[in-house]
Symmetry: none
Subunit: 124 residues, 4 copies
């Protein structure tokens, strides 16, 4: 598992997304202990403060919780994780459809284009 950062968007936002992705896809399981802030930061190649900022936000979302002296853990609330997955997907789709409508596409066209491009992407 690797960290994939670009400089177009704030690094801490990308860190949040990637950790969310790890939780959603089950790479991190409920109750798992996360590596320490310092280790995560070193692994991702960012400053510990930046990683801290990302983790604080995840904590605010209740996706992780902190035991101040022993470390950080993934939430035990599996429902929350499922909800996050569903809700993220719905948001992505709505935004996407909005933009496509904005470009003048109808739903049938969109689906046909998606299947085309998806098969094209699979080849690579």
């Amino acid at each position: 598992m690797q960290w994939d950062l670009n400089s177009e968007r704030p690094v801490y936002i990308q860190l949040i997304e990637q950790i969310q992705s790890r939780i959603i896809t089950g790479f991190y399981l409920p109750g798992d202990k996360l590596p320490s802030v310092r280790d995560l930061a070193a692994e991702a190649g960012v400053n510990p403060n930046t990683m801290q900022k990302a983790l604080t936000e995840l904590e605010r979302m209740e996706l992780v919780y902190t035991n101040r002296t022993s470390g950080r853990y993934i939430t035990l609330d599996q429902g929350l994780i499922k909800q996050l997955k569903k809700q993220s997907a719905k948001q992505q789709i709505q935004d996407f459809l909005e933009k496509m409508k904005y470009l003048g596409y109808e739903i049938e066209e969109i689906i046909s284009l998606i299947t085309d491009i998806a098969s094209e992407m699979k080849k690579n």
Copy 2:
């Protein structure tokens, strides 16, 4: 037709997108004369400098051209417009599929979700 701006993303980027959308969807037709920078800025409620920046960028993309004495016009190159439409759509779709894959969804699931949400959005 109205301008729909929020302050989360750079205003000039949003202006570019909205003018592009107007060109792609045919609200502005090839050869049409654009309102003056001042009028456009007033209409959109932004600083003329910001609108200017957006138009300069659109000119760089050759979607509009300037006739020094008489004003700005939409490009006559219909191929360019079509290409923009296709290319924008492809980019949107690729980004979207990337993100959904990231959330752990397969192509079949995605299409099924899209049809669901699209019909749900239609109701509103």
Copy 3:
């Protein structure tokens, strides 16, 4: 108006509280423009990052809003401010009564003690 910080609790928390207090008591009025992060930080004698952290949190609470390039402003939602005031007071009182109960006091005793101490504090 001055900043009153001690080192017992995190500085950024105290900054949040003091700005909240200024909003609640009407020192800052709805729609007022706040000084820039740098100015506020200089005024309070803290690092701009620390002030930034406090302001970000106030923004999350929707007590202030940001216009990225022109500055920060106090929310126009007066209801929110009133609600904050009431809710803060209620919280303070509940916590207080809880602690006093914990020390073995009944409500009548508490009120009598308060009036005594309040008059004593007034003298100073």
Copy 4:
């Protein structure tokens, strides 16, 4: 009687407060023998080191004393206990009034609010 700990504040501080509360309210009487550190720690579900730290602090305040061979006992000095109770209460009240003043409340309002909230809390 149970231990009620959260992880927001230092555990050893919360232990001190709860033992003080037991002394003030007469749950532990002057001269009572305290359970062993290990038993107390087990009962509270904390590390023995942490409980030890709390007890050491209580000893420093002379609320408990140690008989090297037979264990720890509650102080026989009833005056000290009364004084602790009064002084704690006074401190609580002063802090509380300070905060309420900070929120823009006058003493009369405070008392009226307290009686309201107290009756509301009694119902639950």
